[in-house]
Symmetry: D2
Subunit: 283 residues, 4 copies
């Protein structure tokens, strides 16, 4: 199980949320409260939108807590929208191409969860990826396959629709392979303007997903006061895990829901997988 | 262009050939004489047969010349048969899963060369890999695809036949994609008993491949005298590049040839790609 | 706080104790039960005695649990005496030269603990290191300084005496700098024949240290049966932390004690720091 | 022998000079024309001044040419003053703390060259470092020692004076140890406002140092046209090696000279080592 967080609001130094906040993602990477995954030390990544037309990306196989470059970059880079991820794996190799976020054009994508018995359908899912996207798949995670499936199914023009088709496609192939309940996930993604998140599991028991309901929730993380002043009323965070004792103040995204966050507005809509029209016949 | 070397004979410390020999592979990794590839600093690997029923493997993304672990392991590990590889890439990512040798069961595999315009046929080639082998492909090199194609086509029971079918399969798909001359390679592989090597290019201009004709060729590399004494008359090396001024003494493997080396005997046979019977229709 | 273990006995594959045993060191590296140090993911190392006159060494900054090279080497390397270490630090940089074991000639050295307020005396301690040893100090840990101080004070001819002088020297400089209780440590070291261990703290509250009292204690770790048969009655382990529920069966080394283990015999003697005769006047 | 470059002028994306310029530093890192050092693949670093009161720093042990993070960061980070360095070493370990630039407060420091027979005087030089600076020395390069000596001798208030005292101190200890001509170097350093560089060798045969005489020299590097427009007349570069065929257009810094570059103005003054008043008696 991985952990991720995303921020949208006025530009903020990455370090304010990644390192200085109480129960920050980096703290969590070393010491989880979950018995199954005591640590998220199998690499990390952060993707951010800044001055360029495309997002920046920094990924490393080192544990986030002991990477000096991450600390240094987080102290220099300011962004109005970023996604960060710490990884725990017992499956896919620890290598940079398996670290999140994944990026394609303007899009960044992070994932927590897994496709159960992926080994039964990985080949079939790869074949569903549009040929022109195929050579962009550089790693061996199920997460990256989900991203390129969503891109294949129209992520760039209809993000939430494409994610539903991606989920439908995975469940379609999984069922055909005898795996009744295959998906278990939260997703975060963005094109630099809108932040999307999804909470879904085939069996209705998805991993957690929270968002802050007001800027005060962020101030409560103990940010430096000069930072807090600049945040503005529209700043929001989305996180894969409850943050310490503050969990009560944050809003849990319901099962099978998608979240769409533009400055000042959070929309939550149902997330319903759909088998895409052109799906290959499952073998 | 990568470089590799293989040894077969009485057990020898890896360091004797990797570090102590004149013009060793590690020396070559830093300073090639070739203008196109001035350095082979994009990772390395060594696979060796020892006391266990399966080979050992050590791969790293660091340049071979500055990796202390390699130096240390080479000083401890003794083997009668090993393959070593230093990588130079402008294509596939520098990550351990892209470093050679690749391993499957008892088999080790190294490659120098490339598949031209691989991006046009990579997807089709992946689909040729036997489904039960598919999840073993961990990296993104064309080299690893060649290895799993050969395994698909029977490498374990008919090594040279399988390699010819692999080559035939690649050329088949390449031609269908409009690439007339796709393969350009030398290969080294072993099951721990026999050492095989192949020199082949679709256009008849394959990269070089040499083998030592007698133990004296190895002694001429300036090995420590206590090592030289122990080598025995059957010790041989196969190398992807001529070794310094000693090139004259070594035997160049002819174009389109396969080499089969068992202790004391070198067989050179023609290498002729064959489209495998069950190949998928190329698009 | 780091963790370490050492083995002495008939040759065993490193993987049997590092990976296959219940509550192995590698398992522990990911999930400690200690609240202060939930994970030991800041690098690892293993040093072993084998066929060569000097020990082998493999150290890496990756978490031990996700390093494929470690897994592979542990599956190939057999040794009658080895020391392994997993690191957790909030102080010295995560780099290979800060990973244990440290090695000098035939000696290997691991350390758990710390020198309190080392920053006040690090410079003075470095000056105590014999000039001819000085250039061997490659990292920035207090552990490595302890090792070179011990070497300076005669480790090679009088191991336990030298360690007592080392401890005396540190406490001497610490007291002069106003640090009353500076040392808090367990040590493991060997010359390839004898295994030594020390448990000591200036304040009498040293970290834990255990050893197995009989080969049965090792069998209880759930080793593969073919391994267990070969262990022989003299096999022993020394560990920095109790191993799971088996803690009761192992023997806790008392405070301020040194342990000397030769095949079949364990000697425990008092450990009493002594200010070395030639110590520089503390500033 | 390492290579470095520095830029001062209007803000520019790091990638424009590090990757896009002809004969860029990254190109040079893979393929030097110098026979002694065919490659600079032993790590790299870049330090830059941006929006924060202190400089950013990104250092890695990977070869610069194959580090995706460097490529990505260089595409996002814009700076009016930065220093970049690619390393080649046969001496000090390849680890991040040995990569340049070194940083202290607002200062960044890069070095090419060496202290001959440093092993004879390293300990003495470390002792010259002010005790309050001592714990900031994290690596094992002679370069870092030079930087902390300069800081000890007043770098922050009198940069060129302090560098001359640093050089005097090194030569003083070297002569005492029987090394007549110890220093061979170029240096680059900055406090974020002024860029300094030094070319000096004890034997009058220092490594090369060049600077561009006008913005046209930079345009000639083939920068993207939109970049070129924004450069402004005051943009200058300082480089340790001649850049391709453009060497003639650049100005070679004379032996034993210091260069002081503020926007629009380059001052070259003599560089004369001075033994600092308080130097410890050489042993």
């Amino acid at each position: 199980m991985c952990r991720w967080q995303a921020y949208s609001g006025r530009p903020i130094l990455l370090e304010d949320l990644l390192f200085k906040a109480r129960h920050s993602l980096i703290d969590q990477s070393m010491s989880s409260r979950s018995a199954e995954t005591p640590t998220n030390g199998d690499g990390f990544g952060v993707g951010w939108y800044g001055a360029r037309p495309f997002p920046g990306l920094f990924r490393s196989i080192r544990p986030a807590w002991n990477d000096f470059n991450l600390r240094d970059l987080a102290a220099q880079i300011e962004s109005p929208l970023f996604l960060a991820h710490v990884r725990a794996t017992s499956l896919a190799t620890v290598q940079e191409t398996n670290c999140h976020p994944f990026r394609f054009g303007n899009w960044l994508f992070v994932h927590n969860g897994e496709i159960f018995e992926i080994e039964k359908i990985r080949r079939a899912l790869l074949m569903e990826i549009a040929p022109e996207l195929f050579s962009h798949v550089l790693g061996t995670t199920d997460s990256e396959v989900l991203f390129y499936l969503a891109l294949t199914f129209g992520l760039e023009r209809d993000p939430l629709g494409a994610l539903q088709r991606m989920a439908g496609c995975v469940e379609h192939h999984a069922r055909a392979a005898g795996v009744a309940e295959s998906l278990w996930m939260t997703l975060g993604l963005s094109d630099g303007k809108t932040l999307y998140a999804v909470r879904y599991a085939s069996d209705g028991q998805a991993p957690t997903l929270y968002y802050s309901k007001a800027v005060e929730d962020l101030l409560a993380l103990g940010l430096p006061s000069e930072t807090a002043e600049r945040l503005g009323p529209e700043a929001r965070m989305v996180v894969s895990e409850p943050i310490g004792k503050l969990a009560d103040a944050w809003i849990a995204v319901p099962e099978a829901s998608a979240l769409r966050l533009v400055p000042g507005k959070v929309e939550v809509t149902p997330f319903r997988p759909k088998v895409p029209a052109g799906a290959l016949p499952a073998r």
